[in-house]
Symmetry: C2
Subunit: 284 residues, 2 copies
């Protein structure tokens, strides 16, 4: 597994670096970004927060706009931001060129239907291949947490709930909470997973949370703006709330008055999320 | 003077808003961004920090990438980010379509040569028309400071030095410190101002600083990364340092090891600049 460093920029005493590598899982070259806090140069292995971005994003959006590096540098957290789908000429995108499916919109699942099944395996990439790479090449421990925004909030919740014990904590901004029951999710799931809605349940955070045994869900924080244009039709945090109640899980769901779906919202509350993860990762 | 609000996003308890208006000075429609901290809703008039961006930028780069809102919200500073040149079909750009002159590259001066003189009057726009608009439409006092990056660092220094008493403090990241003596500046000045280099001196921060009477320069902070690709050929902070010595001015010039020319550098040190301005503006 070789990594090509494509950029390196100092940030808050640490380093923002981007790498290209060949992903066996996805069958294409991928780019990811890593923020290494200053403590990474002192030898000790540091815990890692994985950040999953939303529709249309790449590894760059979070690193440029969330303002997470300041506190990550203080807390000694590594942050890893993968891309949002497989990429490259061999990777099929939305047949109509839409932005809510395919390239930039991999939904962090393993597709079972053709022509998607060959490359669209973002779940296995994010949960297995990428952490193996990170832990082999950087001063990263196997203590992991995961967070994300919108489609990436769905991804973070699903990765954590499908893989008990793998993440110490999970959080999300404006997640697609119940993709089986919203237009973005129905479009993506029907293509990636086929028409059998029973198979969709394995990739729906609200379904998974309701079925997770009480006491086995990692600490769970969700922020949602109440002026988010996608709130009612696509995001549906009330489904997550009901699932938490049903499953007997503690969910901190904060409805933030006046905030929208943008990175201005994420930046405003990223510190709380970093502290949430740092506490679970033993950094505070 | 009417303002059309084109977006409004909550950020750290305050608001990031963008406006379009017709500029009489520039003879075209312009867009600017304003960050209003939470204190702006409490009635008192707040001081304003003007931020001037670099080549190719618009009002958006700083607001999206610098991470300034967190501390501005705490300190009660309004931040205003104008565009970097006049815009529109009637505004001539670089004849060769280059990115370092014309559209997105107005150099914050008043052009005297055709075809630039009609629209390229960014100095008067930034120093006079825009503050008048801001102070008429927002809870903004007439206490002003100014900062910027690269071409905008040059702009901030020149606006402050040409207009004694107008700004309480000035700062810059990686400014073009001596534009008369670097390729970017020579290209822009020869076109905007003509071939008589004596006229260029009025728009060169190092010349202006050397000629400013001791004691009449506002508090002056400059940060410069030592891995900035433009450092030697274009930025030349040593010229500013010599000018400060010659003029008897106190200049805090910090060479930051490992940092480049990007917003990752700006974000890493924006807090120090905000505190520098807040101190001069009576907010700390």
């Amino acid at each position: 597994m070789s990594l090509d460093n494509i950029s390196c920029q100092k940030s808050f005493g640490g380093w923002h670096k981007r790498y290209r590598h060949h992903s066996k899982v996805l069958g294409c070259d991928m780019v990811f970004a890593v923020y290494l806090p200053p403590q990474a140069e002192q030898g000790a292995k540091l815990p890692v927060l994985y950040w999953l971005s939303g529709l249309t994003c790449t590894d760059e959006n979070f690193m440029q706009k969330a303002g997470a590096q300041r506190l990550a540098a203080e807390l000694g957290l590594i942050i890893v931001a993968p891309d949002t789908s497989p990429r490259g000429e061999q990777v099929p995108g939305d047949p109509d060129g839409a932005w809510d499916f395919g390239l930039g919109a991999g939904f962090y699942l393993n597709a079972t239907q053709q022509p998607w099944a060959q490359h669209y395996r973002m779940h296995d990439y994010v949960v297995e291949e990428l952490p193996a790479l990170i832990e082999a090449h950087f001063p990263a421990s196997d203590q992991r947490s995961i967070s994300g925004h919108s489609m990436g909030g769905h991804g973070a919740l699903v990765c954590a709930l499908r893989n008990p014990g793998r993440y110490r904590s999970v959080s999300a901004f404006s997640p697609i909470s119940n993709p089986m029951d919203c237009p973005w999710g129905e479009k993506a799931f029907s293509r990636f997973l086929g028409d059998d809605r029973a198979r969709w349940r394995e990739w729906d955070a609200s379904v998974l949370l309701a079925e997770t045994p009480a006491g086995s869900c990692p600490p769970l924080l969700v922020d949602q703006g109440d002026r988010d244009d996608f709130l009612e039709k696509q995001l549906k945090p009330e489904a997550l709330e009901q699932a938490a109640r049903k499953g007997g899980h503690e969910l901190t769901l904060r409805l933030q008055p006046g905030y929208d779906h943008s990175y201005y919202f994420i930046a405003s509350f990223i510190d709380t999320h970093l502290r949430h993860h740092a506490a679970a990762l033993g950094r505070v």
